[in-house]
Symmetry: D2
Subunit: 351 residues, 4 copies
């Protein structure tokens, strides 16, 4: 029943998040991939860029210019940061009824000044920014339903926002003492050929990077501050781990007064009750990144620290799925009024 | 419509192939998991043994004795080699109409003497062995359709049989000069706690094992000899590679007379034309194990060697999927008259 | 000139730290390995347990009972925690002039009550404990010089003590707000065959463990409190990373008054000036665990956090070398009056 | 006693083999590193390119043009293939008494026509080629002693030549049926930033490459044919394995007449008796690549195949040490009349 399917274009299909979108959409009963763009690989088949698609019927890679927005209902935009603002502006000019889910950082920051500070240049589509909805379904489901432009959140930020925002909203943690030690698999760095991402450089070892000033902080500040209704500036440090997929964030929090770690657990369990893609483990259980690999799931764990009044909240998800392309499909489902789990109901690939 | 679903038991659900069966069956529209056994973990939840199932509704783990065969239509038996013969014999005595797919080696060897030679003890269900069908769908589809007992093939053997048997049948290679250099990921060794399988022992290095006499040879001999209608004894060497999933077999073959490598390629391409789970890459293309990871796919490649009259045939699959549990579900589909790809239509998880 | 060499026994040579001691001692010009014990492998050759020693002349493995202390000048004791107290007590009774370097936790905790609390049983050699010196050369060099019994520190604790104690001593950080997020390679778990340490279980993923109550905290509390002259209880969380070697600790600290991150850097740079095995990187540089792999080096980095008054101090070492066996050899050098770098002057194996 | 030290320049110090040379030479009692070149990184410190050298005294990186050959006794040339011929020609014109060990492929092929065929361009220093000695010490020790220019062999080829040439020379294997299935760690691909070498591309999977026509075949043909005194063309296939270091070659050989696998073992054991860097394991033992990691050792194993008259010979070494920089230092020792093991006497880093 192809007639009832949503016609989809993936812009930037040659990156990891693009390929992951294709993987997920191929199993989505309501999705029909009608266009794939990849500027430098235009003219090639998707299988020549990602051999796992050998033998799968897919449109050839084209340039963005070759895309006719009139033939498309919904666009996933998986282009690099900075280039996206203009592309999406142009798309909406040609096809104002299009639905767009942007996986870049370009429309995540509501305050244009904050955007400029962190990304080093003025925002080029400030009007569109105003209507963009931050696409973390668990927190913005209602806004996403009617949105035309959804800004898919970053992988580090999704991991920490899902763990911390409900606690801030409940007034259960002190907002000036949040320490986030986050660890990421290598696919988070994308497919660009860089010496420091070679297997021989990064296997069998680990390191922190961007220490003191990682761009993801802009999103964290925004969402944490919104939840607290006052400026919140967490400490955030990112590390690279020799694994392909997974963000693993360890959050060190302080509780005011007599709030206990068990109470933090209960707040999160209540908040995510009935939500299909966030699972709060039993109190004291520690999640592992491998148990969400390839799935759209987030696992949360809360443990009491031995120091009274403090707790450790751990959160993990697959950066390419719940941290990017799976989250984007979840957004699509909400925007289209489909059951939220459509096409996303797979358990992690472990081992 | 649960009424139309096949009621399924997985025996040995705590092993890797057991967990992989559960992963696949959860997305199978015609399957209902009604029982999971795991003798030493009986009484526990599946999520406590494999946390990726946290929050997923599944029956508790029970012992085999607790299983009532009358409540089940089809059994996947993922128990260790040797213990299975008696278990399946008992099952059929209680429920003769049951369908059984056995993932162990117990019913793969048609000749009881060959079984005894390789496995060191007499077969304990010789009568059942006679009706067992070798469960490699691409070669035995018709026999599997009506079978009550299907012996799911080994992972090393599936990889090489799919690459070589069509060539033997076509008389396109010399059967006394087949050299198989096969490489396996670590999940092939199972979940038993052994010093030599610790991360620190096997990461950052590789080695051959079982050199000169690996048990998988019994299956290879059987299927190759059947195809040739005379005894064929290939050279086979297995290696362990520091990766979780994947068998990668490099086959060195000689062609009689003027047969060319291109002809080998054409024979395989014709043989697997229309078969959903074997993809013959373009002539000269070399498959990579990562491009089938997590999928039920086999990728085959044929390359001419620089020495005239010889060729290299490469075959790769995911040992836990097409090499075990995915193959088993494919067998189930054939036995139940379902489309062969039901529940198995996922592309590899890469990267 | 074997006459001038120190005759050495390694107890527990079949563990990873035992094998690492043998690796290092083989290149030590003043060391002669005269005995290797390994109770369960007694009678075997070292090469049969660790094939990298194939062809290297080494004594056969014996039981501890078979060891004659009179034939030995110095003992490295690499036995499991708990069993060591009695073994060393017996050794000193037979040979009071022996020098002993113990790599277990048995003599690290000066307070018998703290030992009992963390290890669950009363200490069995309280008298010996009194003379044991904590074997972190950079902090206890003078005490180690004359010691008969040196307690080699733990790998997690060495990593954090080297980074934090000089800052506490200088009064440069607030002692009630130290957060330590530490990550370890898999060799830290030893060679015992455990399901959760299998390659398939731990590759391609990560997780925290022992959250809220890791035994290494006893050592941290002791050394931090000693440095502060009042009780200090840091927050400490350990994680397992899919790599063989390396501890990587990220320390989140607050500075009192107007102390800056640059000042922390200067304190550490001054403290370790002239010390061969601790390198303080330039201010703002972030160490990587791979750059100390296989060496006895510790790399320290200090970075300012974006939140005023806070800083991030990062420390990394190889858990089997500076975190265990290399540290032990360094202790030996100090005890014997040899240059501290003897036998330890190798640069990391990278890549 | 710096006066007695050999003054050494490493050309191409920013590549992996360059860094490995520096690592090894730093512990060599007779070597003094006086110059390091790296054209694109000239002006930088070695520590900025390889942080493991932070704090180690080393000359700054310079361009080749800045190198004064008069200040140097011996040059290690670790430049890319093709560029080296002219560089070395120029060096000898300025300093004819220089000793040069070339780690590229430029001087390995004695027949200029074979060179041209495999490398696609005419040799630019044919006269120098005539005096170049193939630098595999175990086979060419005497020629190396007096040589001015030594061509260090390739890593794949060293691995297979050490295993096979003694058997060819002894007439113990059939030379028209040699199949070599070789596997390499990722450092063999060097440090150039290529998409296909990214961690995310190559971890958790494996593949063959260059199938049918790998350049290393030129060296194998040359050395095998020389040993046989007639043209020998082995089958050779290379694979990439997700590990940093190690070549692991599985050789499938046929024996003439009644020659047994045990006899092959004895031939190798005799041939390498007394040779410090090749260890022939007991008959039937299978080597592992991890047991030579970081060392200059080659481990050889011989196993009988179940098919009469055939055997499996396995060989493994660390591609950066015995397969490149360690072999180069071994050549230097022979050229300088030093004990062959000087500076190379370290056991593998395992685990």
């Amino acid at each position: 029943m192809s007639a009832t399917k949503t016609r989809i274009a993936v812009l930037g299909a040659s990156g990891y998040t693009g390929a992951e979108l294709v993987r997920l959409l191929l199993r989505h009963p309501n999705a029909e991939i009608v266009a794939l763009t990849a500027d430098r690989k235009a003219g090639k088949t998707m299988a020549s860029v990602y051999p796992q698609f050998f033998g799968v019927e897919l449109p050839k890679l084209i340039t963005i210019e070759e895309l006719d927005p009139a033939t498309v209902d919904l666009v996933f935009c998986a282009l690099p940061h900075g280039t996206t603002q203009k592309v999406i502006k142009d798309l909406f000019e040609k096809a104002p009824k299009l639905k767009v889910i942007d996986l870049s950082a370009d429309f995540r920051i509501r305050d244009p000044l904050a955007y400029e500070k962190w990304y080093g240049h003025a925002h080029q589509a400030v009007e569109l920014q105003k209507e963009a909805v931050y696409g973390l379904v668990e927190l913005y489901r209602d806004e996403i339903k009617g949105a035309r432009l959804v800004a898919n959140p970053g992988c580090y930020t999704s991991t920490s926002i899902l763990a911390i925002v409900p606690l801030i909203e409940a007034g259960a943690i002190e907002t000036d003492a949040i320490v986030i030690d986050s660890k990421s698999g290598m696919t988070g760095a994308g497919r660009a050929a860089k010496e420091e991402m070679l297997f021989s450089e990064v296997s069998e070892g680990m390191h922190a990077y961007g220490v003191g000033g990682h761009r993801h902080m802009a999103e964290l500040d925004q969402e944490f501050s919104d939840a607290a209704s006052r400026p919140v500036v967490p400490s955030f440090t990112a590390h690279l781990i020799p694994m392909n997929r997974g963000i693993y964030a360890t959050h060190y929090v302080k509780m005011p007064g007599s709030t206990s770690a068990e109470q933090l657990h209960r707040i999160l369990a209540d908040f995510y009750s009935g939500q299909p893609f966030v699972r709060v483990l039993d109190f004291g259980m520690v999640p592992q990144s491998r148990h969400v690999r390839g799935s759209n799931m987030t696992f949360l764990g809360v443990v009491a620290d031995r120091r009274p009044g403090t707790a450790i909240v751990i959160s993990t998800l697959d950066n390419l799925v719940k941290g990017a392309s799976g989250q984007a499909v979840q957004n699509m489902n909400v925007m289209l009024g489909l059951p939220e789990t459509t096409g996303l109901d797979q358990v992690a690939l472990f081992p």
